[in-house]
Amino acid sequence: MYAFFLFELRRLVREPRLFIFTVFMPVISYVVFTGVGDISGQSEGVPLVTAMTIGIAAYGAVLGAMSVGSGVANERVSGWLRQLRLTPLPPIKVVAVKGLLTTLAAIPSVIAVGITGRVQHHVTMPIAHWALLVLVLWLGTIPFALLGLAVGYTLPPQIAQPATFITFFTLSILGGLLVPVEVFPRWLRHFSEVLPSNRYAELGWKAAAGHLPSAAGGTILAGWTLLFAVLAALAYRRSTATR
């Protein structure tokens, strides 16, 4: 299983699109969004610029997890998963490794945007808060990784990719990852608060202030995680059902 993990990790690191999606795009978005308009003031219990740093880091992390997860569509269609089934490696371990790698794809964005924020806008917080931030933004991608895998095990590659992007953009804009929810009308703000993307970023905002996740946020994220886990499990079972 470790050999399979290393094999897949090496493939992931060599994938140029991963760098574009999880490092280049979030950093450019960050520079643009924090470069226009006033970024003084407070938001989500931290300085606005810190909140925006975390929001855009979360945006890249969600994109990384979802795109790597839905990328399983290619492996399914190419017959690679079928080939693996004819080796002694049990299918459940294949899925476990895929899931772990998918969440790991979230980390480059958090680090790249964090460094850009530190350099460009002198975003500061205690080192322990940075560490907590990376940890929660890593673990918090679990629902998105599951959603990506559900898409990848269900849809053909040429549909999985646009479906992933549409879902991702909807979740990040409505979740307040790019624009703070304070500028939303009240009804939209309430809607935003039940989205997994908003509650995911909230993990980061709390961490930056040195707080643990809120009970409401944790419950909502757990609910989405459960839903996406069921969807991913069903999709996986359907795709591997013996004909």
Partner: protein, 317 residues
């Protein structure tokens, strides 16, 4: 000794189509067996069932006495499938090392690369391989774990002639070390040249089972071939002994039960001809005869029972 493969009365349908229809097949450990049949005969479905990728509606499958899933998990099986693809961003060496790590007692890396003819391509990315090279990489992945049973579905598709020859040489070395090899093919020469035993299937049933020579002798007869020199083909089918007439360009090929009588009559007919050749009917003809006849019940398939169908070689007249 436990047979490597037992398929007992296995059936499988896709909608109204019976892909595999009461198929019986036992392969003793150490044999090299060709599964020979035209496209759509049920070869790939049979292999899928054998490997546990597809569940039969009826019948049982045993590999070395256990279920296909257990045999696969135990590292006893290596397979090279037609539709098994690779993933980008990994090299040939990465792939081989992965396979080695997954099996309990793998072959040395250098030996795998050499056997599959990939030593020079070891550091090439999988997505940069040509069709024939990718086939060799599939072969490397299948044999890396030194599996007791190696299953190859149409292994030489997409290979050029030179690659094909080196592939079969490698396969022979592998089977010579006591491994069981089953390969599916619709190349009749491959089955004849490289297998100890040829199992011919059509419409999901075994229609013939024996050595390549036995399969060829099933249909008996010889071919009488010659260039037509101006003369037409009218009357050729009425020459003594002739069962069928095929014409390719200017060359006529007669299947005859009595080639002596056919040739004598041809000479006496005053018909002009050139480049006369009399030869044993090839596996190609045997194949057409047997598969066109639809075959007898799979359960009782034997060389004798399978013989006697009408050939379908079309008359070119």
């Amino acid at each position: 000794m436990t047979p490597a493969v037992i398929l007992d009365d296995v059936s499988k349908s896709f909608g109204a189509v019976r892909a595999v229809d009461g198929l019986n097949l036992t392969i003793e450990a150490g044999q090299t067996v060709a599964l020979l049949g035209p496209n759509g005969a049920g070869k790939s479905t049979t292999i899928d069932i054998m490997l546990g990728l597809s569940r039969p509606e009826r019948g049982t499958v045993r590999l070395f006495g256990v279920s296909p899933d257990r045999a696969v998990q135990g590292g006893k099986v290596g397979a090279m499938l037609q539709d098994a693809g690779f993933v980008p961003n990994a090299t040939v060496r990465d792939l081989v090392e992965l396979a080695r790590a997954l099996y309990p007692a793998p072959l040395p890396t250098s030996e795998i690369l050499r056997t599959a003819g990939l030593t020079e391509l070891a550091d090439r990315r999988l997505d940069k391989l040509s069709g024939g090279e990718a086939q060799r990489a599939r072969f490397a992945f299948a044999l890396a774990g030194d599996p007791r049973l190696l299953v190859l579905d149409e292994p030489t598709a997409a290979m050029d002639v030179a690659t094909r020859q080196s592939f079969w040489a490698a396969m022979r070395r592998y089977s010579a070390t006591g491994h069981t090899v089953l390969f599916a093919t619709h190349y009749l020469e491959e089955a004849d040249d490289y297998a100890d035993r040829v199992v011919m299937i059509a419409r999901g049933r075994v229609v013939a089972d024996g050595s390549g020579a036995q399969i060829r002798s099933l249909t008996g007869g010889r071919t009488v071939a010659f260039d037509l020199v101006g003369g037409g083909t009218v009357g050729l089918d009425r020459l003594p002994g002739v069962r069928s007439v095929a014409v390719h360009g200017d060359r006529a090929s007669l299947r005859s039960d009595d080639s002596d009588a056919t040739v004598a009559a041809l000479v006496h007919s005053g018909r002009l001809f050139q480049n006369l050749e009399v030869g044993a009917a090839g596996l190609q003809e045997a194949f057409l005869t047997l598969t066109a006849a639809g075959g007898p019940a799979g359960r009782d398939a034997s060389p004798i029972a399978a013989a006697g169908g009408d050939p379908t070689t079309a008359s070119g007249a």
